[in-house]
């Protein structure tokens, strides 16, 4: 049985719906990320899990027990806040010891645990500092150590890295992964940064308009999204309009050609129906199509160097714009204004029901 089961959870403020029926299970030891744009309900769900927000409807179960209306102090969930929320009047060691003193641990046990937590987050020699004397990254480590000290059932993290600069963010991502591995605590992590979600999570739940649009391992959501929203939100993507060819159920027409494709799950398109075709920028290559590959011609509109790769903006003969990312040496031929041959392997192409332009 899953550690945490969320059933049909809803929250409405006056007339605004923050959560519209959330169902989600979290296994013990999992790293689950709640990903979505701001206002999509992910933070409201996290606050409900912590007990800071009372849901209007639905239940939260921990080990099968209903904890929907249990006080936050009785849940034994750690919480890492966006701005850290360290106690400014206490030293690092006393911040970490707070939950242990509240639980009336023995002095010796508290001291041992504080030392253990400090070395876990690599702050052994800063025990007597006050939070204001620490850098952002150090404060973040203290916040994590404080939330883990009492051995929480679940660690809830609310965009903990958003205040840090890019370099530090990447270091902390690795740190969090390590802490997750070493402690074995279940992590529920909220972020709006899809790269962060992909890099860290066992599973991602993608939120939009108060609902979970899709849940799954990052690889599955990236490679086989089943909604237009996830296809566009997770990683960069190109959307083109296509339609079902009228003679064969598995044929799709796009790129001025037709190619076979597995029938869409749960949708029954009729011949001629509009479809959305997507292809990732890294799957478009320059050159003559060979074998099964789909070839098409496009004009290079713009060519920009972004480090490891070149981003090339293409315009197809149909007037549709696409972005391709190419390794620099492959991009040499693609000068703006030039017409180039492009090729895509059909396995890299995804097809979704509905219009390409809508979300």
């Amino acid at each position: 049985m899953a550690l945490l089961v969320i059933e049909d959870l809803a929250k409405t403020y006056d007339k605004v719906t923050a959560l519209a029926g959330i169902n989600l299970s979290v296994e013990a030891g999992e790293f689950v990320t709640l990903l979505g744009p701001s206002g999509s309900g992910k933070t409201t769900l996290l606050m409900s899990l912590a007990g800071f927000t009372t849901p209007s409807k639905g239940t939260i179960r921990l080990d099968g027990k209903n904890i929907t209306h249990v006080d936050p102090e009785d849940r034994n969930f750690g919480f890492v806040f966006q701005g850290y929320a360290l106690f400014p009047h206490l030293t690092v060691a006393n911040n970490i010891a707070f939950s242990l003193r509240v639980r009336k641990w023995e002095k010796a046990k508290i001291a041992a645990r504080v030392t253990e937590m400090l070395s876990l987050v690599g702050l052994d020699n800063l025990a007597e500092r006050k939070p204001r004397e620490l850098s952002g990254g150090q404060q973040q480590r203290v916040a994590i150590a404080r939330a883990l000290a009492f051995g929480p059932r679940i660690l809830l993290l609310d965009e903990p890295l958003s205040a840090l600069d890019r370099m530090l963010r990447e270091t902390m991502q690795k740190e969090l992964k390590r802490l997750h591995r070493e402690t074995g605590v279940t992590f529920v992590y909220v972020t709006h940064d899809q790269e962060e979600a992909i890099a860290m999570s066992d599973r991602i739940a993608v939120f939009n308009h108060g609902r979970i649009v899709e849940v799954g391992p990052p690889r599955d959501l990236y490679k086989k999204p089943s909604t237009r929203f996830v296809a566009g939100f997770l990683g960069e993507n190109n959307f083109l309009s296509g339609h079902r060819a009228d003679d064969d159920e598995t044929m799709v027409e796009a790129f001025g050609t037709r190619f076979g494709f597995a029938p869409l799950r749960g949708h029954r398109e009729r011949p001629g129906d509009t479809l959305t075709v997507w292809v990732r920028p890294e799957d478009i290559r320059i050159g003559q199509a060979t074998g099964d590959e789909i070839g098409f011609r496009a004009t290079v509109v713009e060519n920009s160097f972004v480090g490891a790769v070149e981003r090339i903006l293409l315009k197809t003969v149909d007037g549709e714009e696409m972005v391709a990312t190419l390794r620099s040496e492959a991009a040499v031929a693609a000068a703006p204004g030039q017409v180039v041959d492009c090729r895509i392997h059909p396995s890299a192409i995804g097809v979704l029901p509905g219009e390409a332009s809508g979300s």
Binding site: F52, D74, N76, G78, F79, F81, A85, H89, V102, R103
Partner: protein, 267 residues
Amino acid sequence: MRPRRIIEVGLPRLLAWCLLGFLFVPILVVIPVALTDRDYLSLPQDGMSTEHFAALADWGKGWLPSMLTSAGIALACAVIATALGVTFAVGAWAAGGWWPSFMRILLLSPMIVPPIIYAVGMVKLWARLSLLDSYTGVVLVHVVLALPLTVLAIGASLSNLDQRLVQAARSLGARPMTVFGKVILPNIVPGVAAGALLAFVASWDEITVTLFITGRAVVTLPRRIWTSIQDAVDPALAAIATVLLVVTVLALVARALVERRQRQQKF
């Protein structure tokens, strides 16, 4: 000095010194007056005398009992107003929503209503409740007058405090009373101290309402001063002023020393 410089720098500087003089000379003049050898308010004429200071210490003359009365009332007022102020300010800070702002306006109203109107109302009310000329009556009135000051001082301290500290403490297992005692209170000590001091001072020199609701039993220091200047202006007043002046200066020096030491500890 060139004329332009005199206008731009010299003149404002002169004005500033005049203003300072206007503020301080009347205060400082009480010191020689307190040392006068006459028994009316005047500068020393045939030499200095400490008889007026001695009169302050003389229990029978009434100054000392009144000082103790005022100090006792001010202390009680400071304790009660601070306790109520902390309770309200923290509650309003934690709760959010519309009612805290409404309650704040209600609590600040004693600052807006002219004391004389408030005094007339209190006479009627206290007469009915038999609290006229009683310590309880005076303390209660002073608490009401001091409450806006404590709420403002403590509220200012709270406005710098991250509200998520409460959530953080609760997620770590702290019950609301522990959150209050171990997290909120330690972080607003300066505001609480300032509020208590303001409440003490407000009560210590309150005269308008006190005049209306006291008689023979409760004679605060401002009331005794008021009564004494009605028949003859006793130089003992200047002696009292001198004592208060010295106490205030000592308090300010002590505060500066404490702050300097705290700053040194920080770095």
